[in-house]
Amino acid sequence: MADPLLDIRDLKTWFRTEDGLVRAVDGVSMSIGAGETLAVVGESGCGKTVTARSVLKLIDMPPGQFAGGQILWRGRDLIPLPPAEMDKIRAREIAMVFQEPMTSLNPVYPVGQQIAESLRTHEGLSRKAALDEAVAMLRLVQISNPERRVHDYPHQFSGGMRQRVMIALALACKPKLLIADEPTTALDVTIQAQILELLVEMKERFGMAIMLITHAMGVVAETAQRVVVMYAGKVVEEATVEDLFAHPRHPYTQGLIRSIPRVDASATVRRRLEQIPGTVPNLLNPPEGCRFAARCGFAVETCRKVEPPLREVAPGHKAACVL
């Protein structure tokens, strides 16, 4: 890929806690090209969210720290950037949609004012122009009657509507990259589909890239072009969506795919929904060797001793497994 928009190289975000050093993100590399949708998948506690927050430098330091690596945004490393410079990147270049729409909007301001505020700070619009733009953004994310709703407070919106408002807020300054941190997790299934559809539509309209963080493989299949699978602070597999679903190489990815409930023909034979046994290892003292070895059905002796590197197993398909 020629000149990616965002290029994360060997990022290490660690947290110093009372119990010791937690290597939440430990040498993660991934890149997103302009207009591309990259899904980052993994179960809770695998470092997806910390990776996303690291990109926007939303990690509290201390206790967090960047222990190494680079976050190259259009060739410029964000890690040493001073806060004032970072504020300029946020919203205008990289914006974020959060998991909890119920609490992500400030309860004391009408939603329109929140969108307008962002436009006025970043784009220097007048009060009137910013409010008009806010109405246009609300209309764009399909909020009915936006001229009126723009004066409503967050508590007057339902969860799905609030997530639409959040998306409008994030997109108001036309960012080049939208980081969506589990944008549909807190919503019910029908609303989830609508929100994903909206994200894809917005992406096409504005030509932006999306970094979609999720733990639902179904969401990945519907929206992303490329997938990065994370496990215990590391990338274990990276491939295009088609390739990943057709030929998952890492046992963890295979487990994730098998744990999707299926309703198609092959599932007419009644079978128990599979799960991956065990839980994510404690990152305070991760096991030696492959971090997935303890839960892996194929683990051999070497897995427990040597950590397998991420290597190219097919063109554009990388996996970190000895198999």
């Binding site: 909890e100 009915s144 009657n145 409503d152 407070y153 007057q156 609508q194």
Partner: protein
């Protein structure tokens, strides 16, 4: 689609007619406040007192220092509804004038306490670490000072200096307001700090940060307005406390001079005549009682109205 949330999120759902206008948090709080009957009654009572001290001199144009030795220590009558004192001065007129000072002292001292408290609390809540520890240590230090002796000391030390600069009335006013306010900011600071510590971790603050809001903007626009509820309640009750504090000082003879008859000062003057002229102390006492009690009830009402855990 009569509710505030349309059943269908699609834009093509036709014109949504909403029955109620947008409820701002302030209107919502007022709606809850109105349910608190005692608070509403108190608001009316306080309103009457405030109105009385503002327009009182127009309705009752009697000079406060009109000495009339033929009418010493007269009980209430038509000529003097609240009676007269030992110099034949009209008590009603003195209470009206003094009420202005007493209420103004309460209000301004509260503002001083709020400003200092919010500044200290917000700084502590945002900075954590050493600055936070130092500021909270300072608050603890102030809390552990014996307030009354300190008040007396400060007033003895600075009264004459300030009088020389700002005149007898202004000097004492500034001194008393600063002293009362300056010794009441600690609970506010702790309250604001606690609010900040919890609010700064809220998702909407992080969302605002992710959208490029600077630190100053986060504090002023996003955290502070959400922290104000409890601060308003504390502030209301502080007005009452400051009124009492001013009366205490006046009663000890350390407040305003005798020609400025604040409620506390009138009580101080009346204390030697309790057996012959009980009405003299009864009226300023009642005025203070009504003002303080109604302010406290209003505070209660506000507490209910602004409670973040409210259901209705």
């Amino acid at each position: 689609m009569a509710g505030s949330t349309p059943a269908s999120p699609s834009a093509s759902a036709g014109p949504a007619v909403r029955a109620a206008p947008a409820f701002s948090p302030a209107r919502d709080a007022w709606r809850r406040f109105r349910k608190h009957r005692l608070a509403v009654a108190s608001l009316v009572a306080l309103g009457v007192v405030v109105l009385a001290v503002i327009i009182g001199p127009v309705v009752w144009p009697v000079a406060i220092n009109d000495i009339d030795f033929s009418a010493q220590l007269k009980p209430p009558s038509f000529a003097h509804p609240f009676g007269t004192d030992d110099l034949g001065q009209d008590i009603l007129a003195r209470l009206i004038y003094g009420g202005r000072i007493s209420l103004a002292v309460g209000l301004v001292a509260m503002i001083v306490a709020m400003v200092v408290g919010v500044l200290v609390g917000a700084t502590a809540g945002m900075s954590r670490g050493r600055v936070d520890a130092a500021l909270m240590w300072l608050a603890d230090l102030f809390l552990s000072l014996p307030q009354l002796p300190l008040l007396l000391l400060i007033i003895y030390l600075f009264r004459d200096g300030l009088k020389a600069v700002l005149g007898p009335e202004g000097g004492v006013f500034v001194l008393i307001v600063l002293v009362i306010g300056g010794l009441r900011w600690m609970p506010v600071a702790r309250l604001v700090r606690a609010q900040f510590l919890s609010l700064r971790e809220k998702e909407f603050v992080e969302a605002a940060r992710a959208l490029g809001a600077s630190r100053a903007r986060l504090v002023v626009h996003h955290i502070l307005p959400n922290a104000l509820g409890p601060v308003i309640v504390a502030g209301t009750i502080d007005v009452a406390n400051a009124i009492i504090a001013e009366s205490t000082l006046s009663f000890l003879g350390l407040g305003f001079p005798p020609d400025i008859p604040t409620w506390g000062r009138v009580l101080f003057d009346a204390k030697d005549y309790l057996d012959v002229a009980a009405y003299w102390s009864l009226f300023p006492g009642s005025a203070m009682f009504i003002a303080v009690l109604s302010i406290n009830f209003i505070g209660d009402g506000l507490r209910d109205a602004l409670d973040p855990r409210r259901v209705l």
